[in-house]
Amino acid sequence: MMLISAIILIIMIVILPLETGRFLERFDKGHQNDTGMVFLSGFLLQLVLFFPVALGTMFFIRQDNFVWCTRIYLILSCIPAIAGAVCRIRKLKEKKPAAGPERKAEVYKNTGEEKNGKFRDAEKTILWAAFFIILAYQLYKAVTTAFIDGDNTFYVTQSLIAQQQGVMFTNLPYTGGPTSLDMRHALAVLPLWFAYLAKVSGIHATVLCKTVMPLFLIPFTYLVFFEIAKRLYPEEKNNIPFFLCLVAVFEMFGSVSIYTSERFFLTRTWQGKAMLGSVVIPVIILALLMIAADIRDKSNANIKTAWYLIVSAGIFSGICTSLGVAFSALLTLGGCLVIAIRDRKPKLFAMSMLACIPQAVYMVLYVILK
């Protein structure tokens, strides 16, 4: 039974996003064979699709609305994934699998001499090994450590209510019993996404949130940092694991107060506010880095993906927490304003305003409903 649950969960949070990413890849050829970016894009789309389904069923279906939400989203989430799988099969049939982008040898800037040698290989192996040891330790601690946090009484219980009682935000989490729709939290549907995963996989929502999901969400966060590192150090690949090691160590030792995003990341990984700090904000920074790099290199290689990331991360921020839309919009507008002024590209700022339309709609909806 546990094995079946694990397989279902892997399909839901690994296979479906990956295949969805393959589908998205068709619209932007710039990131072909970049599996990390494909997965990140697919994962964001899967979550973004959940948003209208959850809200639609929440507002328009009276009884057992979560059951309907589960059914509709299960079908909807499979559509882009199946499309992605079909695209991939066609591609494989059409031609032999591509050998990937031609590997360019790393060279020293000053001499043009090729970087290689046993020392560099050993260094790379040691640094990657160090990173994976730190990651494994964090995953081990995530499973074996219980963190006291009162907010779980709200968020985790909401997930469990949806799983066990089939309703969304209409049952009092602290004491039980029916209530009016909780408008303050209704738009931040992340607990319902966990409830969906729990329902489909048959895993108790509390176990899923606290023990299982960190095993996915922690590596996922480092995938975002890996994508950032790849763009920071395109010419010195050994810097990537070095950078990741330090970020991972900082996440472990960043708990200097109860307020830091690092503390949120490792002690309440499954909560929307933690995901805002550890996933949404880094994704937007990654997108801004891609835009700034494109302008620097006078190319358009990353621009589509960057805007896609900004828009989907903006919607995802609202899925995480109502407050998140303000932060994601602020970072997007502020970042684009800096680049626009610096590089004299006013159009970029106008684009960023368009990209923040989802957050604006969300805020209006929030004010009306509240």
Binding site: T145, I148, F243, G254, S255, V338
Partner: protein, 273 residues
Amino acid sequence: MISRLWAYLELNIETVKNYAGTGFLLLIYAAAFAYLLISEKDKAKRVIFVWIPGLTLLFFFLPPVRWMYMKYIDGSATYYRVLWLIPVAMTIAHGFTRICEGFKLIGLPVAVALIALCGGDVYHSVAGPLVIASKAQNEYHIPQEVIETADIIMANEQGHRVKAVMPLDFTSYIRQYDTDLYLAYGRELIMRPDAYDELYSMLCEDPIDVEKMREAAIPRQVSYYVFPKTSGFVKDPESCGLEKAGETKDHVIYRDPEELEYMSGISYYYFTD
């Protein structure tokens, strides 16, 4: 006007102080930021590590921004989250990566040691006097006593929804295990210092007057009572009409067979109460 602006600025400084804890990691960040401000020549990286954080910090400290945030976005004390927009971890990591360019294998342990010495270990986190991390007792990451209590109640009621009175520390967890268990009071008693609940105050009395408590509990549809084993009673609970449903290591669970009431399973979508 100026005094109000100054008050907001002081609040902002206080927020940064609270956020930074001992302040040593902030110093490392400030050093990394200054280093990148001077040495980072790549235009794209400067945007991420210098201009955006610089602008965010400036924005954070402006008193009107805090005023607007508290008025229009969130009145509660969440302004510190604006600081999350500053990529502190990435800036420090990037700073060290540049410094240790030619000697990474020596640089890594040095950088790790510096971060570890200046930072706070998340796995030994505290919140005031409270140690927030402990070894998980089960896969639910909730105390085993709570699970045993819920199991005893639900085994008796075959999955019917019942309402219970129990110690406050149980109320934060028990509905994370089973939402068919309703509570007479919950976490709101912890969150609001002025909150009062008659049943909870009776549970805190020593000795507990079970007869009086039952009288107050029946109109609220309470069918189960969880008492700490250390509690004293005015009269034995069983002589007050309760029957013992079971016990855990530190608690005794009583059931009210005469007034047993199953809670409604209806949980429709309501716009208004």
